[in-house]
């Protein structure tokens, strides 16, 4: 089993994806950790984040590189990772995890073993971390970790 991390940063906003991970035809990810913070000048800005399943892959955006948690393992992730400005993926209506957060705070979520959020196979299917609504546009820093 391989374990990966990816980090990305992008301004908060309305329905903007920060990181989205799409499955491959055979590979899936089991997400077990998420960290959200902001490196912007401290201010009271409320933002709502959702971790939510996608059913149509995004177009464009910045391709992100996952880092293996063990540098001695050479296997690459089977997931396709995208961040930044993109044609948004199509997301399901209901979310997997919702976070309402003040910009001053840092949020960490850790799933217990066996309780990870698993993607389903297929390049259209994935899980994205999305800024749903925000009182401003502070830079949002996010990290996701998963096993394959």
């Amino acid at each position: 089993m391989a374990s990966f991390y990816v980090a990305h940063r992008t301004p908060a906003g309305t329905n903007l994806t920060i990181i989205v991970a799409q499955s491959s035809a055979t590979g899936v990810g089991k997400f077990h950790q998420m960290i959200i913070g902001s490196d912007a000048t401290p201010a009271d800005v409320a933002t709502r984040f959702d971790l939510i399943r996608s059913t149509v892959a995004p177009a464009g955006g910045t391709a992100l590189t996952a880092k293996n948690s063990d540098p001695q393992l050479v296997g690459a992730t089977s997931l396709t990772l995208t961040g930044g400005t993109m044609t948004e993926p199509t997301y399901e209506a209901t979310f997997l995890l919702e976070v309402a957060l003040n910009q001053r705070a840092t949020f960490t979520w850790i799933a217990n073993p066996g309780r990870e959020l698993r993607t389903t196979v297929g390049t259209a299917n994935g899980i994205g971390l999305r800024s749903i609504a925000s009182g401003g546009t502070p830079n949002i820093n996010a990290t996701l970790a998963w096993d394959e």
Binding site: K30, E98, R104, A105, T106, T108, W109, N112, R118
Partner: protein
Amino acid sequence: MLLPQYKGNAGYVRIDHPEGPAIERDTMQCVHCMKHWLVIPGSGRRRGWCTRCNGPVCGAEVCMTQCVPFEKKVVGEAPW
């Protein structure tokens, strides 16, 4: 046949902020859609319990009215 033993909390969140000590909460997970939620006693949110899966459900209508375990949705896919 005995149902699988319910394993309790599904996860953990920690919120660090500049005004006071860190906030720590447990999360639970829906056995049907895998959604996680914070356990906040007295929040007023209605959740449920699937006696067939022997686990909590998130409260969404589809999860409350239909028993389709997530494992069944992904049967035949790559192993967990």
